[in-house]
Structure formats: structure tokens, C-alpha cells
Symmetry: C2
Subunit: 201 residues, 2 copies
Amino acid sequence: MDDVRTRVLTAATELFAELGYDATSVQQVVNRAGVTKGALYHYFSSKEELLFEIYGSVIAEQLAGLDRVLAQEMAPVPTLRAIIADVVETTAEHSLATAVFTRERTKLNLEHWHALQAQWRRYQDTVRGVIRDAQASGDFAAVASPEVISWMIFGVTSTMPTWYRPDGPKKAAEIADEICAVVFAALAPSTSDSLTSDRKN
Amino acid sequence: MDDVRTRVLTAATELFAELGYDATSVQQVVNRAGVTKGALYHYFSSKEELLFEIYGSVIAEQLAGLDRVLAQEMAPVPTLRAIIADVVETTAEHSLATAVFTRERTKLNLEHWHALQAQWRRYQDTVRGVIRDAQASGDFAAVASPEVISWMIFGVTSTMPTWYRPDGPKKAAEIADEICAVVFAALAPSTSDSLTSDRKN
């Protein structure tokens, strides 16, 4: 990404996190980024577009990660493991952007809001499809619905800004491993299930 | 709770959710609640105190629920099941209050913020203690740390305002049952564990 664009987005993320969206002026973003107002308006048409791009760039990165994982056509367990690792690590990396979005999303215009909602729905529906297919084939136990399982996975990641600290005792990769341990212990087909199920062996 | 106090808090919750905290005036709260300004100021010293009480009353109710569950001195599984059911149902019931808190918590003054943080920490630490003790005794598998397990439980509940609908296909009690199914499937001590563990039988 262009250096000026990145500096502007980083400055806006920090200021929105510190002062709130409403209390932050474009002039403050320009000052913090060390660019001219003209340079900012070359990339962003408004303060609102900064807010949109802050989270839009995160979800775009996460969707690209999702597509990369799916392109590998792995079995359900490594697929879901790679998805969880990617979403935990990208959320940790963009913790401030996620916090700003959670707090300020009502300030987005309707078009931008719907665009982000559509991307997020695509992400969520894809993950649910992976779980649903694996439950149908017997690779995952049907312990709960794909909806509730996905809400548990995304609930823990989207609340990371409230509990994750980059300098905390646990690295993002370790947190992802623990989440995977819980998810796969819950989704493991039990021995009795596999003995009594209708699966073709 | 006093009827006027309840009406004021309900009106404030709705308006903060619809317009945002900053854009809502005390006069609008008074109008919506159908009370006098004097009546509002009899119970609340400021708009900020309304924000504090909106979530403060939810966490107070949840802590009371937690204490009621613990007082029954049940085994770990029914204890954690009752805690999850209570937190899911109270969050569903107070979904708007939870959404307002998530969005507007940075508007709280430091004293109020610390008070809520302390209550939330007491809730979280208590639940972690239940999980930790049950893992130490062998009643729960040590599949992941009590921290990550509790973040998964509270992540799914605190994001409920973004996905739970009172008129949706699933009632809160059903959602709680599914969350419990995932948690207890993950925490079930495996047969091989119980054969090889150091537990006194």
C-alpha cells in the first residue's frame, strides 16, 4: 500500500481510538500523519471514508486470507484451523482498527455500512458452510449448529480489543491454538458416534 | 425498581441506541419517558450517570445471578451450565443496554469506568476459578486455559447485540443450550484421560 495512504490511515486509527471519531478533525489526522491536507484528500474524500477504509482494509485482508485457505482444498480440520489462526492473528495485528470499528460503526454512511456487512456476511457464511459440510459428512460432530459455533469463534476474536494485549503473556498464535483446541475437542466425532452412524466407511 | 427510574433508564437506553450518547439531550430523555426534568434529576445527577446505570444495572443483575448459582454449591458442570444460561438470557433481555455500553463506554467518567471494570473482573475471575478448580480435580479436561475458555463464553455473549434478535428463529435458552453443548463437549474428560490420570477414584 502507498506510504502516504498508510500513514494517513494509521494516524486516523490512532486518533479515532484516542479521541473518538466525532472529536477528531481532518486537520489533526493530517498533523499526526505528517502529510498535507491535499495529500489526504488525494486518497480519501472525507473523514467518513477514513473510518470506512480503516475497517474495510482489515476485512478485505481477512477475506483474502479466507480465500487462500479455501484454495488449498484441505480437509475440514486443517481448513478451520487455518481460518481461526488467520482471523485471530489479523485481529491481533489490527486490534486498534477493530476497536474503532466496534465503537464508531454507527457513524458510517449506509452504503459503506452495507458494504462491510456484506463482506462480513460472506466471511461468516463461508465458515458456516465449512462447518455444515463437515458435520454432514461426519468429519465434525453435530454438537451445535454452525451458527452458534461460528458466533463462538467470531465472538472471541471480535472482542479481542477488550482483552488482548500485544505485550501480554500470550501471543496471538498461542491464543489461536487454544481456541482451536476447544473447537476441535467439541467437534471431534465420538467413538460411539462413528460406530453407530450411517457413514459409509 | 421504582417505576419512574425504570422509565427514565429505558428511555435513555433507547435514545442512546438510536441517536448515540452525544446527540441525545436530557430533555429528549425526559420527553420520551414522560416524566419531569425534576423527576429525572431526583434519580440521576447527570446524563453520564444514566449511561453508567444503564450497564451498571445489567452487570449488577448478572453478578446477583452468579452468586445465586454459586450458593447452590453444585458440581462444576451444572454450575457452569447455570452461569452460561443466566448470562445468555440476561444479555438477550438487556441486548440494547449491552449494545449502548459497547458503543459508548469511552464516554463514562474514570470512576464509573473503573467500577464497571471491577465488577466485570469479579464476574470473569469467578467463572475462571470454577473452570480452573474443575480442571484441577479432573472434572473438566484441561483442553485450554480458563482464560481462553472464558473469553470464548463471554465473547459469544457480549457480541449478542450484533447477531441476536428477540424475534429470531432461536430463543435465548436454545442458544445457551448450544453454547453449553460446545463447552461441555470440549471440557469432557476423555476416557483415556480418566484411565491414565492421577485422580483418586
